[in-house]
Amino acid sequence: MRQTGAIALNTFKETIRDRVLAVIVLFALLMIVASLWLGSISLGEEGRVMKDFGLVAVTFFGLVVAAFIAAGLIHKEVEKRTVFVLFSKPVSRAAFIAGKFLGLAVTLAVVVAGMGLFLFVVVWVIDGAPTWMVLAAVALIYVQLLVVVAVTIFFSTLGSAILASVLGICVFIAGQLSTNVLELTRLGQNALTEALSWVVFVLIPNLTAVDVKPAVVGEQTADWGAIGLWCGYLVAYVVVVLALATAVFRRREF
């Protein structure tokens, strides 16, 4: 536990100092400010446009941080040979993977919270009243991004960093289409297709289940009980993926 904490702290310090991170956050904030201009040509729907485009900016830039920084976490350690020093000490592979994940999770929390609070304040100024749903939506975007971090770390134990980033982003996109895969299972043309669709449906994280972006602009009512359960499902998913990443990482020789 102490080992995991130390690795997490070190990962947090390392990633939060990354200049790329600062540039990404700056771009995100600029995107959110740019939504103000879009709002001005929306015939009085400034608040709505701000919320919608602002949340997409938080999602997109959060995804960039999650996929690209997570992919480099393990590769950097291997390339700089620091992993050899680390594993010469009594540090388990599981503690290493968990520490890396937790460290980036904290960094991501800081980044997403920063962008989310900025958006919340801007929306408050425009609407003249606080929209707490914006904060809830940002928190749930964070949960989705944690899945991307875990999946990207898993892929980074299998292949190159760039491939891991691409696959991490692909899983995020697939997670948005999870319900479509379920539709495929219902086509029922033949048993093999149906079985394969079910496998894909189970493997892909259902990210839409915790997405409340439409609810922020009043398009639907959020079922918080169900969302809470789906968050539990995503946490379990993260645990399973990290366990798989550890299993793969154990096979590697250092």
């Binding site: 929306s42 709505r48 949340l55 948005q176 319900t179 479509n180």
Partner: protein, 249 residues
């Protein structure tokens, strides 16, 4: 030393020349009339299937494009070939987007599509039963463009629905009452006028009195009997005042 200086100078000259070319090209390029293209409007189902989490953002993006499209064509050729598809896309991706229905309806009217505009408002009210403005505007469209034999009756129904929404302004009830009265639905009209009288300001009360006076029987005793049906809609004192003012006391 001199060679290095010359190289640097050459580099600066090349950079300045390039910057000059960039600026000069932009400034002197003949201004082209921007062509109005036909926007790509896929089926709403496509976005509903493939980006359920981002459907409202896509609706917003198309909302901004619809405004631009309408604005450009209103100023130029007044052709709105893709307008209906765009408005349908926005409202199907974001069915609670009240302003899209209102703007869309009047934009479709400009395109000569009165029936489509009316249908859009009807669909909007189905999706947003609390949006009295949608029902009111459907009533206005029906009254303005509907067939002569049914327009009063149908418009009255719309105003009646709008008036039933909590928070709807009093003038909606007044219009509904007036149209219902004209259509011969005395009971409904009387109830709406009574509500206006009970909750309205001085101006609304005067309108309500005139409206009730027009539809109630002239004989004081029959008039009093008709008024009894709205006694429960207001305070006893207000009712007594109403009876007195209508000469049914």
């Amino acid at each position: 030393m001199t060679g290095r200086l010359a190289r640097r100078l050459a580099l600066v000259v090349v950079c300045l020349a390039c910057a000059g070319i960039v600026v000069a090209y932009q400034v002197t390029r003949p201004a082209e009339e921007r062509r109005i293209g036909q926007p790509f409007v896929p089926s709403p189902q496509f976005f509903l299937d493939f980006s359920p989490s981002f459907r409202t953002t896509i609706a917003d993006a198309y909302w901004l494009q619809t405004i631009q499209y309408y604005g450009e064509h209103v100023r130029t050729d007044q052709r709105y070939d893709r307008l209906k598809a765009m408005i349908d896309l926005v409202t199907m991706l974001s069915p609670k987007f009240e302003r899209a229905y209102l703007f869309g309806a009047y934009a479709l009217l400009d395109a000569g599509l009165a029936q489509e505009a009316y249908d859009l408002l009807g669909r909007g009210f189905e999706e947003n039963p609390d949006a009295w403005k949608l029902a009111t505007n459907a009533g206005i469209l029906m009254y303005s463009y509907g067939a002569e034999d049914v327009k009063r009756e149908v418009a009255a129904k719309w105003f009646e629905k709008a008036a039933a929404v909590e928070g709807a302004p009093l003038y909606v009830s007044r219009i509904a009452a007036r149209l219902l009265g004209e259509g011969g639905e005395v009971d409904k009209a009387l109830a709406l006028w009574a509500e206006v009288y009970a909750t309205g300001d001085k101006y609304s009360r005067a309108k309500a009195l005139a409206g009730m006076d027009a539809i109630l029987p002239k004989d004081p005793a029959t008039r009093r009997a008709a008024l009894e049906r709205v006694r429960d809609l207001m305070a006893p004192r207000t009712f007594s005042e109403l009876v007195r003012k209508l000469g049914a006391g």
